[in-house]
């Protein structure tokens, strides 16, 4: 039995200080037993001389300078791992929360992971069909990618995440299994419940591992929640050879927990009070997405974050955008206009898309149609802002055509049902049909040959007629 330290030197926020400590390791875990028999977990955040400063995951309420016994474990924070993780629910600190008892570990994994060597990575190229037109065509999700959803409070990001999980053909034609790792950070009970119910209804619950740190759980635990989830994901991906989709929500709550913790340590703040290392910290999570060369299995991340005040320049979405490989931005205006999913096309982007689409992946004309749709929709915005100044009647004929294109693009392409699962062929054909609403000369991003093969004004007219009938 190793040494136990009675009492504490001081307590501040979620930090405790022990003195006359010998042989404590930086970053190791400690067990803190209270006089009433309850137990807490701490991690060494700093060592100085014979003092050790520990962060306590469950919070320091009820701790006094005399009622504790602390014991160092000599190991970093670890997570028991086994194939039996699937279907289980854990707390944000990785302890079983479903009453099914402890996991029989096949091994333990350090939750901080280790950086993946860039030369060991395989560049992601395999397209994941989500069945959502705007994503598949314009910001294609690739296996091994990290593609966050930038949302705002009250927008339908949760619904969209569930739809993606239900429809994503992530393991198609690879013969591997597909599973979801779900990390909830600081979300409400109702939201967590919504995800659980949705997973159950779609019959994927047996293939989901859930880590729940809810809004009323301690913030220090929130900091380790995504790390536990990603450790589980990496294990399932690289050692059980599954294709894992990690849904992490809400990254803003995570960053705020980090800020609160940082300020309690008295660190110098950077922008908006967030610690200067927020970028490195977020990167240590997001960079755990990927594929290892020569190993079957992949980790794909779909982090969700709510932009405070819908501000995309807020440090959390801003730094996230710098690390992730693109972003899917939701827009309040579209949501209010009845568009679901309310994906704002122009600021959205998938960086890995260019190498994962086209012949052999999706279809040869994919790049052409998506470039042209982006460009045309950008012109729609110009025409709209002009119309709001000089009135729609004063617009040139071409600008009016763009307005019409914009309307049907939002009605037919962006909008789709919660259970509507469109194949990539359907999506691309629909894109061409909509572009055919515009005169050929306005489609300057496409090669003439490609354009001639797909330009079809009759289909466009038919589509318009159908929508008019539908809407009465």
């Amino acid at each position: 039995m190793s040494l136990q330290y009675f009492g504490l030197h001081s307590i501040s926020g979620s930090l405790i200080v022990l003195d006359r400590v010998e042989g404590a390791q930086f970053d190791e875990m400690a067990r803190i037993v209270l006089d009433d028999g309850t137990e807490r977990t701490g991690r060494v955040a700093m060592l100085e001389g014979d003092k050790a400063i520990l962060q306590v995951f469950e919070g320091t309420h009820g701790l006094s300078l005399t009622n504790t016994r602390t014991q160092f474990t000599g190991r970093p924070m670890e997570m028991p791992l086994s194939g039996d993780l699937l279907g289980r629910v854990f707390t944000g600190a990785g302890r079983p929360a479903d009453g099914l008892g402890e996991v029989m570990p096949e091994k333990f994994g350090d939750i901080n992971g280790a950086p993946l060597n860039p030369v060991s990575r395989q560049y992601p190229r395999n397209f994941i069909q989500t069945g959502i037109s705007s994503i598949d065509c314009l910001m294609t999700l690739i296996r091994g990618q990290k593609l966050p959803i930038f949302s705002g409070t009250g927008l339908s990001h949760n619904k969209l995440a569930v739809q993606i999980v239900q429809q994503a053909q992530i393991a198609k034609d690879s013969g591997s299994e597909f599973a979801v790792v779900f990390a909830a950070m600081g979300i409400q009970n109702d939201v967590a419940d919504y995800f659980r119910r949705s997973f159950a209804e779609s019959g994927v619950l047996q293939n989901v591992v859930m880590f729940l740190n809810l809004a009323n759980d301690p913030i220090v635990e929130r900091i380790i929640t995504p790390r536990c989830a990603l450790t589980a994901a990496e294990y399932l991906a690289y050692e059980k050879h599954m294709h894992i989709l990690v849904v992490m929500t809400d990254m803003t709550a995570y960053a705020e927990a980090l800020r609160e913790f940082s300020s309690s340590k008295g660190e110098i703040p950077g922008r908006k009070g967030f610690p200067g290392y927020l970028y490195s910290d977020l990167a240590s999570l997001y960079e755990r997405a990927g594929i290892i060369e020569g190993v079957e299995g992949s980790v794909t991340q779909l982090p969700i974050l709510t932009m405070p005040n819908d501000d995309i320049t807020h440090p959390v979405p801003d730094l996230t955008g710098y690390i992730t490989e693109g972003q899917i931005v939701l827009d309040r205006g579209l949501e209010q206009g009845g568009v679901y999913p309310p994906i704002s096309v122009l600021p959205s982007l998938s960086r890995l898309m260019k190498d994962g689409i086209g012949e052999g992946y999706t279809r040869a004309d994919h790049a052409a149609v998506s470039n042209q749709l982006f460009a045309a929709y950008a012109q729609v915005q110009d025409a709209r802002s002009l119309a709001s100044v000089i009135g729609e009647e004063e617009l040139s004929e071409l600008d009016r055509k763009f307005l019409e294109f914009g309307k049907y693009f939002e009605k037919c392409f962006l909008t789709q049902g919660f259970t509507e699962n469109r194949s990539i062929e359907e999506t691309l054909d629909l894109g061409w049909t909509l572009l055919s609403l515009l005169p050929k000369s306005a489609l300057d991003r496409v090669d003439d040959n490609v354009l001639n093969a797909h330009y079809d004004p009759e289909a466009a007219a038919l589509l318009v007629q159908k929508v008019r009938e539908r809407d009465g």
Binding site: A24, M46, N112, L116, G144, Y277, I292, G321, Y322, S396
Partner: protein
């Protein structure tokens, strides 16, 4: 006997040692039983502060700290090209071999391949006097690069032994040199140099030749000189990395040093994959043969990220001394500044703006001032050009890193979110960007491309500027109120934007465009403008000009005329003239 120094405190990557005086500033040290690599960054009579380049998890107080007596250095020698290193020049392929796909700690791997044999041509005999920087041997490092082994810049003397030409490994002795004090130095194929000290050169040369990138907006409007500095600031998704990749692939530098500083792992994998597959148009060999990658991705230790740009520029200076022209891509200098901020925070230094340390500007200028075209110690001419990406927080160009960088670079290629959203690539904003090398390079363009080049460029910029002014009016009251000749300016500016500034990196002909074709494209657009203006004066309707098909032809020139067939511009100009002349009869009804 001095007591062995031991760890007093650990706080993230910062370790402190008390009551010792064995360390020197910037000395490299081994920390703890696992011998993690660290560097001394602070000294007081009480405490020595060390930043550690590897994960400090598991360190204990009381573990030993071992001095090495040498500053943080890189090993310079054959084997650098085609390699991929982390921020402190540890070869990532060897690390993969040692610890698998995930990078472990305290790994001791040789920097350069010690077993590989090179065909060494020894150029000196016993008795030869060698000056600092003089080459004593050479060997083909890759099929594209001939490596020169040079006397270290701080050494000179008489050769007392020289090996015969033949096959040698990097640590084999090639010559022995006796200096003025009679000390004998054994020189091999490699040498060491501290990363934070610039390698000396004989003379700095004025910038006189552009680094040609094949990117129209850069070469024509905002050129960079060989040995120059440029910053590419832009919010996420505006194409910083894409622009750097394009430059790295196509620019006419001899060697590319690509520093992935705190960026995405997948991006480095992509560079590695793409550059290996691509052929260099000048040598016909794989691009990787003349490339070295420094990859310290965002999840690798932050202290090594801080070191990575110094490692990169030291490697570049070494090859410059052999007479090569090197282009450094640093992606992104903001991540480096953040690493500086993070370490400064751990040291509890007084922060200046937004938590960045007050020495941010001086560190930035130190880095950018290591660039330039030089006459080397051995009389060759070489240059180091730096193109640094900047990632401003919140796309706000007034933040400290962008602003301070702007003070020390002479080219500013500002990326614009609005252009990127409209998928106008490269999204370099032509009103915000500038190049201070324009005057230095004017003579080159006149001599090598065309005497009219500079005049045309001025006219092109003026048209874009005028369009911007006119668009302000159009946005308020619509385009109908403008007179015809101003509408023509808007039309021509559209041709410039779509037909000239937009460049398709994925198109075979358009991804790289030689200067001659850039000039001819510019000339064609201006020719159209003058011709159309003359027609308007004769009361030909602008609408007729617009619908004549000529603008479409001009926009598609970039795809339709291959880079290798500049003579086709003559035919096309004739065809356009014919079409436009035919409009003369159809005069506008004058009311």
């Amino acid at each position: 006997m001095m007591q062995q120094p031991v760890i007093y405190s650990v706080n993230g990557p910062v370790v402190k040692v008390r009551n010792t005086n064995v360390f020197a500033m910037m000395e490299m040290v081994y920390v703890g039983k696992r011998r993690l690599i660290g560097e001394v960054i602070g000294l007081t009579d009480l405490e020595t502060t060390i930043q550690v380049y590897e994960s400090t998890s598991g360190l204990q107080t009381g573990e030993p700290v071992e001095p090495t007596g040498a500053p943080m250095s890189v090993t310079l020698g054959p084997g650098i090209m085609t390699n991929i290193f982390d921020g402190i020049e540890r070869p990532l392929r060897a690390l993969e071999h040692a610890s698998g796909a995930f990078i472990g700690d305290g790994l001791d791997v040789p920097i350069l391949d010690t077993e590989k044999e090179y065909d060494v041509d020894v150029k000196v005999k016993a008795g030869t006097m060698l000056q600092p920087g003089e080459a004593y041997a050479s060997c083909p490092e890759t099929s594209a690069i001939l490596h020169l082994c040079m006397v270290p810049p701080n050494l000179s003397g008489k050769v007392v032994y020289a090996a015969k030409s033949g096959k040698y490994r990097i640590n084999d002795e090639i010559i022995r040199l006796e200096d003025a004090d009679g000390a004998v130095h054994s020189l091999t194929l490699c040498q060491k140099w501290p990363i934070r000290r610039a390698r000396p050169a004989a003379k700095r040369l004025a910038p006189s030749r552009p680094m040609i990138t094949g990117q129209r907006v850069l070469d024509t409007l905002f050129p960079i000189a060989r040995g120059g500095t440029a910053a590419i600031p832009g919010g996420f998704g505006t194409g910083k990395t894409m622009t750097q990749h394009q430059i790295a692939k196509w620019c006419d530098a001899d060697i590319i040093v690509y520093i992935g500083c705190g960026e995405r792992g997948n991006e480095m994998t992509q560079v590695l994959e793409e550059f290996t597959a691509l052929t260099d148009p000048r040598t016909g060999k794989s691009l990787m043969e003349r490339t070295v990658l420094i990859a310290n991705t965002s999840n690798m230790p932050v202290a090594a990220r801080e070191a990575s740009i110094y490692t990169g520029i030291t490697l570049a200076e070494y090859y410059r001394d052999m007479g090569y022209h090197i282009a450094i891509m640093a992606d992104s200098t903001s991540r480096w500044a953040e690493a500086l901020r993070e370490i400064s925070g751990r040291l509890e230094e007084m922060p200046a703006e937004e938590g960045y340390p007050a020495y941010l500007p001086s560190r930035l200028s130190e880095f950018y001032e290591r660039t330039g075209a030089y006459e080397t110690l051995n009389g060759r001419e070489g240059s180091v050009t730096v193109i640094g990406a900047v990632s401003p927080q919140g796309s706000d160009f007034s933040e400290p890193v962008t602003q301070n960088t702007k003070r020390f670079v002479r080219c500013f290629w500002g990326l614009d979110k609005a252009l990127a959203y409209a998928r106008h690539y490269p999204a370099i904003n032509w009103t915000m960007s500038y190049s201070e090398y324009m005057d230095d390079l004017a003579a080159y363009y006149e001599r090598e491309v065309d005497p009219k080049f500079n005049a045309y460029r001025t006219e092109l910029s003026a048209l874009l500027k005028e369009e911007q002014t006119l668009m302000d009016i159009v946005r308020l009251i619509g385009s109908d109120v403008l007179p015809e000749d101003q509408k023509l300016v808007i039309e021509t500016a559209r041709l410039i934007r779509v037909g000239f500034l937009q460049q398709n990196a994925y198109h075979k002909e358009d991804t790289y465009v030689p200067l001659q074709k850039q000039f001819l494209m510019m000339k064609l657009i201006l020719h159209f403008h003058h011709k159309a203006k003359a027609l308007l004066a004769e009361h030909v309707d602008l609408k007729a000009i617009r619908e004549s098909g000529v603008p479409d032809l001009i926009v598609k020139v970039k795809y339709d005329i291959p880079n290798s067939r500049p003579e086709q511009f003559g035919e096309l100009t004739q065809q356009i003239d014919g079409t436009l002349d035919a409009l003369r009869g159809r005069k506008k009804e004058v009311l």
